[in-house]
C-alpha cells in the first residue's frame, strides 16, 4: 500500500484569459499511493478540474512534473500521451460520456481497441467488468435503456478496462439523484477496497467525499488542507459503537445504525454546497 503511483511536483498551470493570466494551479505538490481513495474538494475556480486534467494527461502543466508510475507525463508529446491515457488512466465523467449508439459492452470495449486484444478477449473482459459493477445481464443494453446510475456504472467499467494505474473521476455523482449517488459511491468504495483501485475523485459533495480516505481541499491552485476521510468500510469500524463491520455493510451489525452516508466527522468546508457551479 505504500507504493507511489502518482507524484505531482511543483506543478503550475496558467491560462491566458483575456489580457490577464489566470493561475489555475500554483506550485502544487501531491503524492498518491497505490490503492488510495482520494477526494478533491474546493470552491469553484479553485483548480479542481485543471488538476484532474493535468493528472489525466489531457492538459499539460505550465511547469512542474507529473510522475505517473515514475514516468514524467508532463512533457510528453501527444503521439505518446494517448497511450498513457489509454493504459494508465481511467476516466469517469460527470455526464458519463457513453457513446449513445454503442451498447454497454461495446462502450466498455472501446479503450481495449488497438491494444492487440482479440475480439473474444475484449468481449470477455467487458462482461467481467460489467458483472463487477453489477450490470450482469445488461451488457447489450444501449445507454438510453439504462438508468443514470447504471450508465455511470458502465462508465466506471469502461474506466477500468485496461487496468489503469489510477481512476480519475470528475464529479461522478454530480448528475445523479440521491439513490444513484449512493450506489456509485458504494461501488467506487468497494472497487477501491476489493480490487485495490486507486481513485482520485473530484466532488462538491461532502457526503460523498466523506467516504474516501483522504480529502484534499483546493484553494487558489494549491492544496490548502488535507483531512482524513471516513472510508468506514476500509477501516471496518463502526463509528457509533466501534464494533467490527463487514466491508460491504451499510448498517452496523452490532448497533443497527446506518454507517454509510451518515456524516459523523464531516469536513468543515463545502457544507451545503451543490454541484451546480460547473455548469
Amino acid at each position: 500500500m505504500s507504493e507511489t503511483v502518482l507524484k505531482v511536483e511543483n506543478v503550475s498551470k496558467n491560462y491566458a484569459l483575456g489580457k490577464r493570466g489566470v493561475k489555475a494551479l500554483s506550485n502544487l505538490n501531491l503524492e498518491v499511493k497505490k490503492g488510495e481513495f482520494i477526494a478533491i474538494m474546493g470552491p469553484s475556480g479553485s483548480g479542481k478540474t485543471t488538476l484532474l486534467n493535468v493528472l489525466g494527461c489531457i492538459d499539460k502543466p505550465t511547469s512542474g512534473k507529473v510522475l505517473l508510475d515514475n514516468i514524467d507525463v508532463a512533457n510528453m508529446p501527444e503521439s505518446q500521451l494517448y497511450k498513457i491515457r489509454r493504459n494508465k488512466i481511467g476516466f469517469v465523467f460527470q455526464s458519463f460520456n457513453l457513446l449513445p449508439y454503442l451498447n454497454a459492452r461495446e462502450n466498455v470495449e472501446l479503450p481495449m481497441e488497438n491494444i492487440g486484444k482479440s475480439k473474444t478477449e475484449r468481449n470477455a473482459r467487458a462482461k467481467e467488468l460489467l458483472a463487477m459493477v453489477g450490470l450482469l445481464g445488461r451488457e447489450e443494453h444501449l445507454p438510453q435503456r439504462l438508468s443514470q446510475g447504471e450508465q455511470q456504472r458502465v462508465a466506471i467499467a469502461r474506466a477500468l478496462a485496461n487496468d489503469p494505474a489510477i481512476v480519475l473521476a470528475d464529479e461522478p455523482t454530480g448528475n445523479l439523484d440521491i439513490k444513484n449517488k449512493q450506489e456509485i459511491v458504494k461501488l467506487l468504495a468497494n472497487l477501491n477496497l476489493k480490487e485495490g483501485t486507486t481513485i482520485i475523485m473530484v466532488t462538491h459533495d461532502g457526503h460523498v467525499a466523506a467516504h474516501t480516505e483522504r480529502i484534499l481541499f483546493l484553494g487558489d491552485g494549491k492544496i490548502n488542507k488535507e483531512k482524513e476521510g471516513m472510508h468506514l468500510a476500509k477501516k471496518n469500524i463502526c463509528p457509533f459503537c466501534k464494533g467490527k463491520l463487514q466491508p460491504i455493510d451499510e448498517t452496523c451489525p452490532s448497533c443497527g445504525k446506518t454507517v454509510r452516508f451518515k456524516k459523523k466527522a464531516s469536513p468543515e468546508k463545502d457544507k451545503g454546497e451543490t454541484s451546480s457551479d460547473k455548469q
Binding site: 478540474t49 486534467n53 489525466g56 489531457i58 492538459d59 501527444e78 503521439s79 494517448y82 497511450k83 491515457r85 489509454r86 493504459n87 488512466i89 481511467g90 476516466f91 465523467f93 460527470q94 455526464s95 460520456n97 457513446l99 449513445p100 449508439y101 454503442l102 461495446e106 470495449e109 472501446l110 479503450p111 481497441e113 488497438n114 469502461r158 474506466a159 485496461n162 470528475d170 460547473k278 455548469q279
Partner: protein, 522 residues
C-alpha cells in the same frame, strides 16, 4: 466492434440527414458519370453518322460512274440510232390520258437510282429515272408521256431517206391511277397519276429484232417476243406481280386478253413497269391506230448519222431529232452536273463533319467544366456534412481521446464515415445513372439527346422533275447513353475518392479535438 460497424451506426444515427445527403451525393455522382457516358454515346453516334454519310457518298460516286460508263457504252453501241419524236407541248404535268400522253414528271419512287444495266435504244432516256424532260433525249422516257403521238403513216417517207437502214416505230402508253397527294405546305392537295404499267408496242419484224436492239435482252422466264407474234405479251417482273400472272397465263389488259409469253428482268429503271407487245396490238388496244410516240431511225453506218439526222430534220422540222452525238453531249453535261452535285455534297459533308467535330470539342470542354463543378460540389457536400458532424460530436470525440484513442484512430474513424456516406451515394448514383443518364446528359450537354440529327444533308442525289437536286433527307443516328460497367466502377471509385477528399479536413479537425472537450457540459 469494428471501425466500419461504428461508422455505419454513426451514419444511421441521423437517418433522415444521412438519406438526404446520400441522395444529394448520389445525384451529383450520377451526373458525374452520366457526362462521360453522354460524351461516349455522342462520339459513337457522330462516328457512325460520319461513316454512313461517307459510305453513301462513295456509293453515289460509284453509281454515277458506273451509270455513265454503261450509258457511254450503250451510246457507242447505238451510234447508228436516231430517235425522233414530236416536241411535247406540256413537258411536265400531272396525269395524262390514254393515247395522248403528255410529259409527266416521271421518276416517282425511283429517286437515287441511276439505273444501269442494259439500255435498249428506245429506253435510253428512261435510264435516268425519267428525270429529264421528255423529248430531251428523244422518245421513250418513262412515264409514257414522252411526246405527242404522231401519225405513223405520215412518216413513211423517212425510210426513203438516203442512208436510213431501218425505222422502228414505237408506241408507249402508261396506264396508271390517280392518287391524291398532299402538298408539303399550305394544306393543298393535288391529283397525280401513279403509273401501274407501261405498254410498249414494238414493230415485230425479224429484221428489227435480229439486227437492232429493240427488245429487252434480259429474259428471266419464258421466251422473248418473236417476229410477227400477236396476242402475246412480254411482262416485266413488276407487271407479273401487278397482274398476278406468270408465264403461260393469260393477262387481261384494258379489257383484252393476252398470253404471257415471257418475263423480262429489270435491266434499268425505265423498263421496271414496261410490258412489250406487238405494235399493232398496242395501237388497237389503246385506240391509237396508226399512231406512235417514237420512231427509232437506224443509219446504215455511224458516219452517216449526222447527215441522216439533218436530212430528217429538214424533211420533218416538227420532229425532235436526237442522235447519239447529241446524247453524248447531253451525257457530258449531265456528268458534269452530277460531278458538281457530288462535289458540293462532298463539301457539304466535310463542312458538316467539321461542324460536328467543333460541337464535340465544345461538348468536351463544357463537360470538363461541369465535371469540375460536380467534383467540387460532391466533395464540398461531404466536407460540410462531415464538418457539421464533427462539430456536433465534439464531446464524443473528446471522450474517445480521453479514454485513449490516438489522433490517427479518430481521423480514420471520420474518414471512413465520410467515405462510407459517399460509397452509399455511389450505389444510389449507379441506380439513378442507369435510369436517368440519357435525360441528364441531354440536359447537360449540347446535342446529346436520344437521337441526334447532325447532318441536314445526305449524299443521296435524286433527279426529279428534270431538276437534279440533292436529297434533303437527313441521316440520323441514335445516341444510346448508358452506364457501362467501367463507368459504374468509375462512379464507385470517384465516390470513394471524393468522399475521402471531402472528409479529409473534417477528420483532421476531429483528430485535433482536445480530450478536455469530454469535460464540457452541455
Amino acid at each position: 466492434m469494428g471501425v466500419v460497424n461504428r461508422a455505419f451506426r454513426n451514419i444511421s444515427r441521423r437517418k433522415i440527414r444521412a438519406l438526404l445527403v446520400i441522395i444529394a451525393l448520389g445525384f451529383s455522382l450520377a451526373i458525374l458519370v452520366s457526362i462521360p457516358a453522354g460524351i461516349v454515346a455522342n462520339q459513337n453516334a457522330t462516328q457512325s453518322l460520319t461513316g454512313n454519310l461517307s459510305n453513301a457518298i462513295s456509293q453515289s460516286e460509284a453509281n454515277l460512274n458506273s451509270t455513265i460508263t454503261q450509258t457511254e457504252a450503250t451510246i457507242n453501241q447505238s451510234l447508228k440510232e436516231i430517235d425522233c419524236s414530236l416536241t411535247p407541248t406540256a413537258p411536265s404535268g400531272f396525269g395524262f390520258t390514254r393515247g395522248s400522253g403528255s410529259g409527266s414528271s416521271g421518276g416517282n419512287g425511283f429517286t437515287g437510282s441511276f439505273g444501269g444495266g442494259n439500255f435498249t435504244p428506245g429506253q435510253f432516256s428512261g435510264g435516268f429515272g425519267g428525270g429529264f424532260t421528255a423529248g430531251q433525249f428523244g422518245s421513250g422516257a418513262f412515264g409514257g408521256g414522252s411526246g405527242s403521238p404522231m401519225n405513223e403513216t405520215y412518216y413513211a417517207d423517212i425510210s426513203n431517206i438516203t442512208g436510213v437502214a431501218a425505222v422502228a416505230p414505237v408506241l408507249q402508253v402508261t396506264e396508271g391511277h390517280n392518287v391524291t397527294v398532299a402538298a408539303p405546305f399550305g394544306g393543298f392537295t393535288f391529283n397525280r397519276t401513279e403509273p401501274d404499267y407501261i405498254i410498249e408496242g414494238i414493230q415485230l419484224t425479224s429484221d428489227l429484232i435480229s439486227n437492232y436492239h429493240i427488245l429487252p435482252t434480259n429474259i428471266t422466264t419464258g421466251s422473248n417476243l418473236q417476229a410477227g407474234e400477236s396476242g402475246v405479251v412480254l411482262l416485266s417482273e413488276n407487271n407479273s406481280a401487278y397482274f398476278g400472272v406468270s408465264v403461260g397465263g393469260t393477262v387481261t389488259i384494258l379489257g383484252q386478253n393476252f398470253q404471257v409469253i415471257g418475263i423480262h428482268g429489270t435491266s434499268s429503271v425505265s423498263d421496271v413497269q414496261t410490258l412489250y407487245m406487238n405494235l399493232s396490238d398496242a395501237q388497237a388496244l389503246t385506240n391509237n391506230t396508226d399512231y406512235i410516240t417514237t420512231l427509232h431511225v437506224f443509219a446504215d453506218n455511224a458516219a452517216d448519222v449526222s447527215a441522216v439526222a439533218s436530212a430528217l430534220s429538214s424533211l420533218h422540222p416538227e420532229l425532235d431529232v436526237t442522235t447519239s452525238q447529241t446524247r453524248l453531249e447531253q451525257l457530258q453535261n449531265l456528268k458534269s452536273t452530277y460531278q458538281t452535285m457530288l462535289n458540293s455534297t462532298q463539301t457539304n459533308y466535310e463542312t458538316q463533319v467539321q461542324a460536328a467535330q467543333t460541337t464535340m470539342n465544345q461538348t468536351n470542354s463544357q463537360a470538363f467544366e461541369e465535371i469540375i463543378v460536380l467534383v467540387a460540389a460532391t466533395s464540398l457536400i461531404v466536407l460540410f456534412v462531415m464538418l457539421y458532424t464533427v462539430r456536433e460530436r465534439t464531446k464524443e470525440i473528446g471522450t474517445l481521446k480521453a479514454i485513449g484513442f490516438s489522433n490517427g484512430a479518430v481521423m480514420s474513424q471520420f474518414m471512413l464515415e465520410g467515405v462510407l456516406l459517399s460509397v452509399l451515394a455511389g450505389i444510389v448514383a449507379i441506380v439513378i445513372g442507369s435510369v436517368a443518364a440519357p435525360f441528364l446528359t441531354s440536359v447537360l450537354l449540347p446535342h446529346v439527346s436520344s437521337a441526334v440529327n447532325l447532318f441536314g444533308t445526305s449524299s443521296r442525289i435524286i433527279i426529279a422533275g428534270g431538276n437534279p437536286a440533292i436529297d434533303t433527307a437527313t441521316s440520323t443516328a441514335t445516341v444510346a447513353v448508358s452506364l457501362s460497367p467501367e463507368l459504374m466502377l468509375i462512379a464507385f471509385g470517384s465516390a470513394i475518392f471524393l468522399g475521402a477528399i471531402g472528409s479529409l479536413y473534417p477528420a483532421w479537425r476531429a483528430a485535433r479535438t482536445r480530450p478536455a472537450e469530454a469535460m464540457r457540459y452541455e
